[in-house]
């Protein structure tokens, strides 16, 4: 589904991604771990098409299609979803209105009619229940005054609404309390199928206890320096990153 070949990306002449190779198949869950500043969020943004980052070499392919000239919104229409590490606030725009716009824009791009209000309401009800979100919450301005955990839960609510093919969760676990972590992880698991894929960026094993990855990759200094199965995450938890950094330096 996702194929990243020798991806190099820079911002303001500073190279951040230095040759990333990654392949994800439908039905798989991959986790990316790595020290602060190693380029995890940058990788997520580049996959989503943020143009501040200039791709200087390599490519990102979705279902065999090179995404180079595809705008962020078109990538979204093709099923790419990013749960942001730092979701932004949009004052005066309710969660409901935002989702309605997002869904209808995607439908429009596919030549479909707007979703009837009845169906929209049903969908909202279903997904807000899945994530145990209070309905009152949905009429509030998007992310404005939301607590850190509420923002993250709201990101996954949006993911549930949009049912993406490829979901990238950038530190969705940070800020969530223990119960919320379980609810959100369950939500993600319920949305998982053999046709979609999830890329989880995290620092902690505890999320991976719930969303069990098929593969774990370690990003360091803009490169994947180690890949393995789910046990790699446990090893990292125990040993930290130093041994890998040393290995990479050799």
């Amino acid at each position: 589904m996702l194929k990243i070949n020798n991806l190099h990306a820079q911002v303001e002449d500073k190279e951040i991604l230095k040759g990333i190779n990654l392949e994800m198949k439908a039905g798989e869950v991959h986790a990316i771990m790595g020290p602060n500043g190693s380029g995890k969020s940058t990788l997520a943004s580049v996959i989503a098409g943020k143009e501040n980052f200039e791709v200087t070499d390599g490519s990102v392919e979705l279902d065999g299609e090179d995404l180079e000239d595809i705008s962020p919104e078109e990538r979204a229409h093709k099923g790419v979803f990013l749960s942001f590490q730092y979701p932004v606030e949009i004052p005066g725009v309710s969660v409901t209105n935002f989702m309605k716009t997002a869904i209808n824009e995607s439908r429009k791009a596919k030549g479909l009619e707007e979703m009837p209000a009845k169906d929209m309401l049903k969908l909202i009800r279903e997904k807000s229940e899945l994530l145990e979100i209070d309905r009152k919450f949905l009429s509030r301005s998007l992310n404005e005054g939301f607590s850190g955990g509420e923002k993250k839960r709201n990101e996954i609510f949006q993911m549930a609404m949009l049912e993406p093919k490829l979901a990238i969760l950038d530190e969705t676990d940070s800020g969530l309390d223990i119960d919320a972590l379980r609810i959100v992880a369950n939500g993600v698991n319920k949305l998982k199928s053999k046709d979609n894929a999830v890329l989880v960026i995290t620092h902690y094993q505890r999320l991976l206890d719930y969303i069990v990855p098929d593969f774990v990759h370690v990003l360091h200094n803009g490169k994947i320096v180690k890949s393995g199965g789910k046990e790699l995450a446990l090893e990292l938890e125990e040993k930290g990153y130093d041994w890998l950094k040393q290995e990479a330096a050799v």
Binding site: A48, G49, K50, E51, N52, S71, P72, E73, R75, A76, H77, V80, F81, L82, F84, P87, V88, E89, I90, P91, G92, V93, N97, F98, T101, A102, I103, E105, S106, A109, S141, Q158, L162
Partner: protein
């Protein structure tokens, strides 16, 4: 399409004025220039009684002795008042017309404006008066309104048919001497709407006037007078458009609202005069005086969505004369390219327990300048006066400006006055967030701007809110893609 500041700027510059067509209807236009003879000729053309002619002439003399004001935060080439024609009427508009007699080309024009009279007629609850250039062309629903004793007609007709009301109220809220443009308007106003709601009557429909400048080199000086008698209610809508032209056109209107004891008036405006092109050429000079007087327990709400005009100078105000009276001002002002807006309100608290609320949302893009100017004045007898003001500015790009000039004058110690102001910018991160959810940049800006303006948009009547929202989108994004 990802968003960078540079791209946004380009995009905004390509905006086009959607209503910039010119309708080729024969019109009857006065020679350019202004003197007593022209004032007399206007009065004669309208078949006015002597008192009206004298009123105009007095205003003209006052105007002649006045200087054009300079204090607003706007820069423009002063209009040459002798280069303007002060009367232009579409020729085929007969004063005794019915809707069916209206020039088909005019009707076509309304259709382009999106306000097809035919449709409007069918549209329940909106009675429309349309003023093109200087003359009122069609008033719908006259009969329905008459049954309730409501008078809604062009002011020129009201001068003939209800001189006692016009005489009693015209100039009482905005005197001829008030300011330069008000004096000019008093001398040369050619049409506008008149509305009277009798005691205890709740007007069953929105009353609406649509203004349009069509003829080149003309000015439009309409005069609106709304009187809500005791315990009555009316919601009034005003829409404005003008075709694109290279030269600047002058629009100097006067609106007077009179809310007698326990009455309520809601006055909503969507102003979309031609703002000039991307280089700042052309556009309407919009110098408007709007003021309301509130008697005991009366309430007036001004709601405005200002997206057009090259230069706007406009301060819909409330004189809270009666005890317990309430004044409200809700405003969205959008400026783009080289537009300049200096707008706001004055809340004059004279009575006891008077309350006012001001919510102003300024949105600036391109190289435009957007100023809020507001005065809250509390007189010495106004015990327990309260005011809340909130002024928010949203900036797009780095070349535009937002300014806030709040003036507070309180002569009574019991006054409670609160003022809040914020300035924000549409961020790349907000746009990318929307993009990532499948919303393109154009739609994203519309969404963000609508969110920013929501408190004010919510105050508009439904029919208008949709139009206003669309207008905000058009004003800011243009026809890219």
């Amino acid at each position: 399409m990802a968003y960078t500041e540079e791209e946004l700027k380009k995009e905004l510059e390509t905006k086009e004025y959607e209503y910039g067509f010119y309708t080729d209807i024969e019109s009857d236009t006065f020679p350019k220039g202004l003197n007593e003879d022209i004032v007399r000729a206007i009065s004669k053309k309208k078949n006015e009684p002597q008192w009206m002619t004298d009123w105009r002439l007095e205003a003209f003399r006052i105007w002649e002795s006045m200087e054009e004001p300079e204090w607003a935060n706007v820069n423009y080439e002063k209009p040459d008042f002798q280069a303007i024609s002060y009367y232009s009427a579409p020729k085929k508009a007969d004063p005794n017309k019915t809707l069916d007699d209206v020039d088909p080309e005019l009707l076509e024009m309304y259709r382009k404006l999106g306000i097809s009279v035919d449709e409007q007629k069918k549209l329940q609850n909106v009675a429309v008066d349309i003023v093109v250039d200087s003359v009122s062309v069609a008033t719908t629903f006259k009969k329905t309104l008459a049954e309730k004793g409501i008078i809604f007609m062009p002011i020129s007709e009201a001068i003939q048919e209800h001189p006692e009301l016009v005489k009693k109220y015209m100039g009482t809220v905005v005197p001829k001497t008030d300011n330069f443009y008000a004096a000019l308007n008093s001398a040369v106003f050619t049409d506008g709407s008149f509305c009277y709601i009798p005691k205890g009557v709740k007007c069953p429909m929105e009353l609406s006037t649509y203004f349009r400048i069509n003829e080149g080199g003309t000015g439009q000086f309409e005069r609106t007078l709304v009187i809500a008698d005791e315990s009555s209610y009316v919601s009034y809508l005003e829409g404005c458009t003008a075709p694109s032209r290279d030269e600047n056109q002058l629009h100097a209107a006067v609106v007077e609202l009179i809310a007698l004891d326990d009455a309520e008036i809601k006055y909503s405006t969507v102003q979309n005069w031609f703002p000039g092109n991307a280089e700042g050429k052309g556009g309407v000079y919009n110098f408007v005086t709007k003021r309301a007087i509130c008697e005991k327990n009366a309430k007036v709400s001004w709601t405005q969505v200002e997206t057009g005009s090259a230069v706007t100078w406009k301060y819909p105000s409330c004189i809270l004369k009666g005890d317990n009276s309430i004044g409200e001002f809700y405003s969205i002002a959008v400026t783009n390219n080289y537009q300049q807006a200096d707008t706001g309100t004055k809340m004059i608290h004279l009575g006891k327990n008077t309350k006012s609320t001001i919510i102003s949302k300024g949105i600036s893009a391109g190289k435009s300048q957007n100023s809020y100017r507001g005065l809250v004045q509390v007189g010495s007898r106004a015990l327990n006066a309260r005011n809340f003001s909130q002024c928010d500015s949203l900036l797009m790009g780095n070349e535009c400006g937002a300014h806030t000039f709040p003036y507070i004058e309180a002569k009574n110690k019991t006054a409670q006055i609160e003022h809040e102001a914020t300035t924000s910018k549409i961020g790349e991160d907000q746009i990318f967030y929307c993009n990532q959810r499948g919303i393109d940049t154009e739609k994203a800006i519309a969404l963000i701007v609508n969110g920013f303006s929501k408190e004010v948009l919510n105050k508009l009547p439904m029919e208008f809110a949709v139009e206003a929202q669309k207008l905000l989108e058009i004003s800011l994004e243009g026809s890219v893609g």
